[in-house]
């Protein structure tokens, strides 16, 4: 599995918050994505958008409720088309399958189209270790590969890199120094990649959708290199999560309408590629051999939890990242694993373990903007709440427990709020305790946590001299008679 750093959320996010350049850039570019989405919805009308979302949701619900049936159908059709289907229960199994394919056939150069599941598996380092060179052909992914980083965003993996940083990187890693404008950089990448594309013997893709009735793997991309990967190398391998299956081509049409609009505000992406399997006798090109690897890697846990199952409805558009006020501040790397942002805060803890991902569901103001923009209307805030309860109270599948302090605080608060009398007594104490710190009705600095964490940057209101219930008793109740 790719390296898990979810437990480093606090440190990583503090670093991003302190980076003024990245902060201003993040706000701007996320706003652009988000604005494009909003415009695209306006264009087809909010009513039509709502219809499509509902359709998409229904299809996902139905498919996941009958996942075994549709996966079997898919397997049958892909096999009938001449391909091979493999099921991998985890990242290690998936890597072993890829390794076996590459090694038995002596494949030395693998060109890759964008795939988040391959990030999950840590596929690139593995391929290198067995002597097969992996080359990312999506421009953003290529930059990330050169920089030896992980994707910052689901659909824009290198969005955090400035023009200057990319220029420097190209100078250092591919011997093309001093490129000034973006076009020249794209041109340089194209030259390097073209050579790889034509000489590769292995193609690796992800999948946006798997169509069960036809045995089709569908790729939605804005760059032609993705299609290149499916048609040139002699062996093609598609790797994807088991939740990507949809029943029919008609169902696929709904998602082709939803995904590009939600992701980038496009009516349709530049390329929609359907892979039907290996080349047939009448075809001029295409792979001689085709493999589809369907990966579980923790997804069964989501499927088995009725409160979290919806997370598998996700079509990886990134809209929740673009709109999330927390993602806009902390960026993608803070989340510490493959999937960042609101959906990552739900998926990562389940896939890599709740124990080391406690910050992810908690670092959210629960504003719900993600739910509003999700093309499948996934109720992310409610799932974050559910995960928080699994963290604090434990769950059948995890033994996590809240910290001692959190448990004591929670019990104490419950006790206090269970008795208006006790609350009144605590209030008297509070009035005494705040006296040295308050100036009028405000407190500028309160050195006692958790209040100190508030007053570091914000003024805090002091307890009112009289509580509302006192005012009610003394005056308001009588006035209403």
């Amino acid at each position: 599995m790719s390296e898990v750093k979810t437990q480093e959320f606090r440190r990583a996010s503090a670093k991003v918050l302190a980076n003024a350049k990245l902060q201003s850039y993040l706000g701007r570019s996320m706003g652009t994505f988000d604005g494009a989405r909003a415009e695209a919805i306006e264009e087809i009308s909010p009513e039509r958008w709502e219809e499509l979302r509902q359709q998409g949701r229904e299809i996902k619900r139905h498919t996941l409720d009958n996942l075994d049936y549709y996966l079997e159908m898919l397997q049958e059709r892909v096999t009938a088309n001449g391909g091979h289907v493999h099921f991998a229960k985890d990242a290690a199994e998936a890597r072993a399958i890829v390794g076996q394919i590459a090694q038995t056939r002596g494949l030395k150069l693998a060109i890759k189209s964008k795939s988040m599941v391959s990030e999950e598996m840590g596929l690139n380092p593995f391929l290198e270790s067995i002597g097969t060179e992996p080359v990312e052909t999506d421009l953003g992914e290529y930059i990330i590969q050169l920089a030896e980083e992980t994707p910052f965003h689901i659909i824009a993996p290198a969005m955090h890199k400035s023009k200057e940083e990319v220029s420097e990187l190209f100078g250092e890693k591919i011997g093309r120094p001093n490129l000034q404008d973006i076009e020249a950089m794209a041109g340089a990448a194209r030259e390097v990649l073209r050579e790889k594309l034509v000489s590769a013997d292995m193609g690796i893709t992800g999948a946006n959708f798997l169509v069960a009735e036809t045995g089709t793997v569908t790729l939605i991309t804005n760059e032609g290199n993705g299609r290149f990967c499916t048609s040139v190398p002699r062996v093609l391998v598609s790797i994807t999560g088991m939740e990507k299956v949809v029943p029919s081509m008609e169902d696929l049409a709904t998602f082709i309408r939803l995904l590009p609009r939600a992701a980038t505000g496009q009516r349709i992406s530049s390329y929609v590629t359907h892979v039907y399997g290996p080349k047939r006798p009448e075809d001029e090109d295409g792979p001689e051999e085709y493999h589809l690897i369907i990966v579980d890697n923790g997804r069964s846990k989501l499927l088995a939890d009725p409160d979290l199952r919806e997370a598998l409805y996700c079509i990886r558009c990134g809209a929740c990242l673009n709109t999330c006020p927390v993602y806009r501040k902390v960026g993608g790397h803070s989340y510490g694993w493959v999937y960042p942002g609101p959906i990552g805060a739900v998926v990562s803890p389940v896939l890599v373990g709740l124990e080391r991902s406690k910050d992810l569901p908690n670092a959210s103001s629960l504003c719900g903007a993600c739910k509003d923009v999700c093309p499948i209307k996934i109720n992310i805030p409610h799932m974050l709440l559910k995960l928080r309860s699994q963290i604090s109270e434990g769950s059948p599948t995890s033994s996590t427990k809240a910290s001692f302090v959190d448990r004591i605080t929670s019990k104490g608060y419950r006790r206090l709020m269970s008795s208006p009398r006790l609350l009144g007594m605590a209030r008297t104490l509070g009035l005494l305790a705040q006296w040295p710190f308050s100036r009028g009705s405000f407190i500028r600095r309160m050195p006692i946590p958790p209040f100190s964490r508030w007053t570091r940057t914000r003024d805090m209101p002091a307890l009112a001299p009289k509580s509302f219930r006192q005012v009610w008793k003394e005056r308001l109740e009588e006035e209403g008679r």
């Binding site: 629960l366 504003c367 959190d406 709020m417 209101p461 005012v471």
Partner: protein, 246 residues
């Protein structure tokens, strides 16, 4: 629309207003009474349990929830000057007590009669103008739970625009969270602060002399930020503005 002469409503004032902002509670009572509502205040009320629920302590939250359900069982309507606490009662209580044979039905019954303050005025009372007057420019911050759990977009604006002398000025990125988020504000103060900074910037840009919302909690955050930066914009609850000039 209900016949206002017969309307009785119980006030769930929220723990924050009770302890920190009693003036908001007074304004709520004043505005409601001004509309002929008979207001009562069940004395056993404390907190709806949301801070516990949002921290993942569902069992502890349920214990406070049961208190609320018992205390307000006889009420005809329950009015809450907070979109957040109202969503806890309207949306999350039924979920918490889903499988509880005793409190499940009580949660469902409460869910149907609990209203956030502005929603109660507009939807139940059918009021658009409460007869208030306030001179000045006011920006409105739609608090997240009010907007997205209770889907109240228009009600507060309708009421604001009915206030004499008040100029409602647009707030850029109004729908973006202020960064409060309950315990989030002290568990992740750095992120909370960064979000607040954007909100404060936009409030300043709006040119408003007052920013308002339907949640004392978000206002506490926004006011805390405005004051710390030395910005002379007031942050006041909608109820207080609707009680101005009285």
């Amino acid at each position: 629309m209900a016949d206002s002469s017969q309307i009785r409503a119980s006030l769930f004032v929220t723990c924050l207003v009770d302890q920190l902002f009693p003036e908001v509670g007074e304004a709520v009572v004043g505005v409601l009474r001004g509309q002929g509502v008979r207001v009562d205040f069940p004395p056993g009320q404390t907190c709806c349990g949301q801070p516990l629920f949002n921290s993942g302590f569902r069992k502890d939250a349920a214990e406070l929830g049961r208190r609320v359900l018992d205390e307000f069982e006889q009420s005809a309507y329950v009015v809450v000057p907070s979109g957040s606490c109202a969503s806890m009662m309207k949306v999350f209580y039924p979920e918490i007590f889903r499988d509880d044979p005793v409190y499940g039905p009580k949660a469902k019954a409460l869910s149907e009669k609990v209203y956030e303050f502005s929603q109660f005025l507009v939807k139940v009372m059918g009021v658009e103008d409460v007869g208030a007057s306030h001179e000045g420019k006011v920006a409105y911050h739609p608090s997240c739970h009010l907007l997205r759990e209770l889907e109240a977009k228009e009600e507060p604006v309708t009421l604001l625009e009915g206030v004499e002398g008040l100029e409602h000025v647009p707030l850029e990125d109004a729908d973006t969270c202020c960064g409060f988020g309950g315990t989030f504000s002290v568990k992740y103060p750095g992120i909370s602060q960064a979000m607040l900074d954007d909100k404060v910037d936009n409030v300043v840009k709006s040119g408003a002399s007052t920013v308002t919302a339907c949640d004392a909690s978000c206002l506490m955050q926004i006011r805390g930020g405005l004051r710390r930066r030395g910005v002379g914009v007031e942050a006041r609850h909608l109820a207080e503005i609707l009680w101005d000039g009285k």
